[in-house]
Amino acid sequence: MASALISARDRQTLVEVVCTAFPHSSFPRGPYERAADVVLDQAGQDPRFLAQLIQGLGELDAQRDVPFTELDTDTAAAVLRGADGTPFLTAVVDSAVVTLYSDPEVWELLGYEGPSYDKGGYVDRGFNDLDWLPEPRITHDEEASA
């Protein structure tokens, strides 16, 4: 459960932090929002993390004349660099890296098909369909005698 101390604007800032930390031109906003919401859920159960989050988001907003969400991509990245290694950013990144890349929408965008058991595995679905290299041998001589 997200805390009442986090405003809608804080959430937008956090989504922007996740976008800036993990920039993919092919990703829509949904996966970033879901990753940010997991961060908020975790912070909701961890007062120390929540305190760091409130403080950290506030500080990011104060770095330039305009709020973090209004910075252009390069400036946002530079501002975030400045927070690298802080407990706040480390905790956000550690959480988001897990959620973002466990998101089925992201998997599809990256070309990962994920769970396969219910579909009979990949045995008939391309586990050996690479055709831009010759078929290699799969044994070597010494083995035959072993």
Binding site: A21, F22, P23, H24, S26, A77, R81, T90, V93, D94, V97, V98, L100, Y101, S102, V106, W107, L110, G111, Y112, E113, G114, P115, S116, Y117, G120, G121, Y122, V123, R125, G126, F127, N128, D129, L130, W132, L133, P134, E135, P136, R137, I138, T139, H140, E142, E143, A146
Partner: protein, 521 residues
């Protein structure tokens, strides 16, 4: 389901149900010995497993607290997770990939072969390859290892095609899809792989050998196995004559139980095994049970490892099929002219985006990371695994400042890379990159070591009691009815992935215990 009495002093108690514990238990059950297996983790089976990297990790991995120290990068990247091992019935054989190379003869005589290496605490094993060979045969047959004893090889998957073509181009000769303990065709009542790609996540299909699907069910059928999941061994008890008398453990309800025993076999993997011995100190054994040598917990090895990823212009889809199914053995040769002693293997590996993002550059973020992931579809991967040097101060100790859920002090894992390890890793990563460049990779990426998957050496085997903890059969030098049955007994680590050797040694040990017990009972 069989149950033996807590006060039945005739049973053999085995701590841990992984490669070592599950094997020694089954071998004893087959010979008619009453066996109680205490397993700290839950009894998960194929249906429970999930094909999602993090969810499966949360379900299976040992995440009880541990601490780290030393200069190894894992202490920085994963300070609370020094090792990647399983806490569940079947132990880490439910996670493992199945690569099964044997030791080479000279690797059992590392001190004699490599000489006196500065800072290394090398010692020859008290056994030679010729003594192990019959047990390697037994273990390979038991596990259905491909390429051996008539078992067919696994087919080439996409990741292997890149790897093998690169190997050929750089002039390597010894590349193949095995040996792996995963069925290419049905064997021993287990099906052929469906190449579902979630081998690290328990292998729902059961085509991979694990003690969960092979040894323990067989042991169960004898009626001699009393398997107790959710049972955490807290202390080994002994009497005034110095013999082990039983094991205290915390059961699933949090109650401390005492199981009496004729023999105790410890196989908790190389961090928990020495921890349990150190926790079992007494007036008679002030530095921990079976530790008159001071070697319990020392000489901790984890293999020299690293990962190389190659990214190409065209798709690879490395995640389709067996997680690991390719080996290049050329660099495992004895050749001390490469700037290091010992050898290494290159083995294919595939991770999903979730693990790749976490492990490729731990803690890093930004466009460098995301560009790598954007190339996921076209990525091939290999893991490097080689012999590391045992060092006396690389060790497991009790960290009394941190306790687990049972108030037991946790293990601290201290590790410093040896210069030899660093040189080998650099060589391996260079060679790995060359393999991918030979088939046109646009870029190669080197990943630092993961939390240790191979944990070895902390109760090492030695001829003389003062050099190690156990004898040539894994029997504690100090306690005649206490055996260590896991990779802790490795005197040195060799280049080979360890599990085949753990299973061979456990099989040999069970035979020995059976002979000895028959004499005394």
């Amino acid at each position: 389901m069989t149950r033996f009495d807590y006060d039945d002093g005739d049973v053999v108690v085995v701590v841990g149900s992984g490669a070592g514990g599950g094997t020694v238990a089954n071998e004893l059950c087959q010979r008619g010995f009453k066996t109680v297996v205490l397993e700290a983790g839950p009894h998960l089976t194929g249906e429970d497993y999930v094909q999602d990297e993090w969810e499966a990790f949360g379900q299976m991995a040992w995440t009880d607290p541990r601490t780290t120290s030393g200069s190894w990068q894992v202490a920085t990247d994963f300070p609370e997770l020094p090792a990647w091992i399983v806490k569940a019935v079947g132990g880490t054989t439910t996670h493992w990939a199945g690569a099964c190379p044997r030791f080479k003869a000279h690797e059992l005589a590392a001190r004699s072969t490599y000489g006196d290496i500065d800072g290394a605490n090398l010692l020859d094993w008290p056994i030679a390859l010729s003594e192990l060979e019959p047990y390697y045969d037994k273990a390979e047959i038991k596990m259905g290892v491909t390429h051996r004893h008539g078992r067919p090889p696994l087919p080439a998957n996409n990741n292997y095609k890149v790897f093998a073509n690169g190997a050929e181009k750089v002039g390597y000769r010894y590349y193949s899809t095995g040996p792996y303990a995963t069925n290419a065709e049905p064997y021993d009542g287990r099906p052929a792989t469906v190449q579902d790609g979630f081998n690290f996540q328990g292998d729902k299909h059961g085509s991979k050998w694990s003690t969960l699907v092979a040894e323990l069910p067989k042991a169960e059928r004898t009626g001699n196995l009393d398997l107790r999941p959710d049972s955490h061994a807290a202390q080994i008890l002994h009497d005034a004559t110095g013999r082990a008398t039983g094991v205290l453990y915390v059961d699933r309800n949090g109650t401390l139980r005492r199981q009496r025993a004729a023999v105790v076999c410890v196989a908790g993997n190389s961090i928990e095994t020495p921890r349990l011995l150190l926790l079992s100190g007494s007036a008679q054994h002030p530095d921990g049970l079976a530790n008159s040598s001071g070697q319990v917990g020392r000489n901790y090895m984890r293999h020299t490892t690293g990962t190389v990823w190659g990214q190409f212009d065209r798709p690879v889809h490395m995640y389709r099929g067996e997680t690991m199914a390719g080996v290049i053995a050329d660099e495992s040769r004895l050749d001390t002219d490469r700037g290091f002693v010992g050898g290494y293997y290159m083995e294919t590996i595939a991770l999903g985006p979730a693990f790749l993002a976490k492990f490729v550059a731990p803690g890093k973020w930004g466009s460098q990371l995301t560009e790598l992931l954007d190339g996921y579809r076209n990525t091939a991967g290999m893991w490097i695994v080689g012999e590391d040097m045992p060092q006396a101060d690389n060790r497991i100790t009790l960290n009394s400042d941190v306790t687990d859920a049972h108030q037991l002090p946790v293990a601290d894992v201290h590790f410093d890379d040896h210069a030899n390890d660093v040189a080998m890793r650099r060589h391996g990563q260079r060679q790995g990159a060359a393999v991918y460049q030979a088939v046109g990779s646009r870029r190669t990426i080197e990943t630092p070591p993961y939390p240790s998957t191979h944990n070895l050496g902390t109760c090492r085997m030695s001829q003389r009691p003062r050099d190690g903890v156990v004898d040539r059969f894994g029997r504690a030098h100090d306690v005649p009815n206490l055996f260590i049955s896991d990779g802790s007994v490795f005197t040195t680590g060799a280049a080979a992935n360890p599990t085949l050797t753990i299973v061979a040694l456990a099989t040999r040990q069970a035979e020995y215990i059976a002979t000895e017990l028959t004499k005394t009972l």
